[in-house]
Amino acid sequence: MNIRIISDFNAETLAHYLNNSTGMSTLTAECAPFGQVSRQLLALTQVPKDSVNNPGVVVLWTRPQGIITAFNEALNYARPTRDDVLKQVIQFAETIRQAKQPTSAVFIPAWTFPPHYRGYGLLNMQTGIGLRNLLHEMNLTLSRELASQKDIFLLDAERWVASQGDNAYDPRLWYMGKIPFSSGVFKTAADEIKAGLESLDGKTRKLIILDLDNTLWGGVVGDAGWNTLRLGGHDPIGEAYADFQSALKALTNQGVLLGIVSKNTEQIALEAFEKHPEMVLQLTDFAGWRINWNDKASEVANLVMELNLGLDAAVFIDDNPMERARVAESLPEVLVPEWPKDPLLYRQALEKLACFDKTSINPEDTKRTAMYAAERERKRARIEFLSLEQWLNTLAIEVQAEPVNHASFARMVQLFNKTNQMNLSTRRLTESELQDWLTDPNHCMWTFRVTDKFGDSGLTGIGSLFFEDNKAHIIDFILSCRVMGRDIEEAMLHVLTQHAADKGAKIVEAVYLKTAKNKPCLEFWQESEFNCKKNQTFEWHLGNAYPLPRHIKLKWDS
């Protein structure tokens, strides 16, 4: 991934940190000549999307006084009007919008002041006078002006500066090298930007696997019983554990899943969840658990597999350094953060983890834990039936196929970038790239929503076609692992082939592109009704309709 840093100051230190820190080996950051922000942004508007000169991702970091001249006057107490300042901010936002076109994303650190800056002192936060008040308004205006623009992200740089205290700004660096921040600020910025890039790349962590004793609560439940645990109450330690649980619960509202891997007797541990009056997390907050006396590394791997996730989606939190080391060594893809000894620091340690960033939040995220709970029920019900067919018939599955609509874009981008197993071509797309692809009249795309008697799985499938002469090529065939194995795939093919026939195509063709993780997709296509040609190409002649599974009720307007 390539990054171009455009700034009105010397940002080489940031480029060095981005290029040389661990984690993203394929990242290359370079600085455009500094102090030419407008020129660099205007130059970007001339770059075609497919040009080698397309920088990929742009980090646009400016000082407010360096880019908004009216604010520079305000800093000299010249008192330009608030409207003059905000008008320039709106103009700057428009320049950014135009420069965004060829790039895949633009990251803009919000404007900041040095912590020591007092401005008008007592009046510095006063509306109409205070410079810090004005700077807040500038950031809010910039954010508002860019809100409708996809893949432009205003970053919380105030936090990077605050993290370095009085050392955030070093006048020595400014006078010697035109560097306004200390290396600590740039290092924090590089970590945050990398977390953002990983999020754009669909590499956000989705699951936190937790130990129980001395991690979710204080004490050992198997030794002394649930009523002796330190959790909540008038006790700083108990309060800290309850607060840690609250922070975990808050993450589930962002779509992060929780799991348990603990060496305990399951019945005793579960009793604590059911009976302890101050337990914040309930069993329904967990997507799954493995509570037994087995090796934790094996159980972490088993739980991740059970939830149809990759190991690289998981974070493991345990107070015991031996267990952390065991999991980190055995499963290097799992993120195992160093964990503080002091439970009073647990919540802070959790909130510092920069691995759950998202490029957007959508309704499916907030329902994810409930969906896994429904899946647990499905599996329990599955055991009661002798055959798969019998079981599928009882599920009352409904699939709703819809042409793409703008409201679904955020969720679709999430599926494009996170789905690995049932993914024909594994195209990774940003929202604007998706939008561009759809502008071609020979392209079309359908989304698929799935519900059954246990609950609503939401938008979980995407299929797209490219029409060429009398052939329709299936470009994307994506299905979330949550609903795989219920013949939703067959229903998707029914819709895509029917649509291709309606458009006059004679043949539908799909080419499987192998990745390290999409073997289940190949197995599906090999077992489908499509004819398997050489080179993992599959074909369907549209003289016949592709059969819709009898147990699926399809809702669509063909």
């Binding site: 040389n20 820190s21 660096l173 006078y175 010697m176």
Partner: protein
């Protein structure tokens, strides 16, 4: 005291090395050249070194070094890490 100032200088070098590729690390040796013809440090590294050392000397030993003054002086404190440690030690001891 020389040991203490050396420790501060090596901490600053460690910070600088965090932003450099593994095959281009600054050697923690008193003979390593900082400025001048044989220096392997670019101007960004030198500027950062000066700022980090000054900041650490102030916060750890409450001594102000004013190394920026030494930047243009070929025979000054910034010839090698050895001369830098000597200079810092002298300033701490009030010489």
């Amino acid at each position: 005291m020389r040991e203490k100032t050396a420790e501060i200088i090596w901490e600053a070098v460690a910070e600088l090395n965090e932003m450099r590729p593994p095959d281009d690390q600054i050697t923690k040796s008193e003979d390593t050249v900082i400025t001048g013809r044989n220096s392997l440090l670019d101007s960004l590294a030198i500027v950062n070194l000066v700022a980090i050392v000054e900041q650490k000397m102030t916060s750890t030993l409450d001594v102000s070094l004013e190394l920026a003054d030494q930047l243009g002086d070929d025979n000054g404190a910034l010839q090698t890490f050895g001369t830098l440690i000597d200079y810092a030690t002298q300033r701490v001891c009030g010489e």
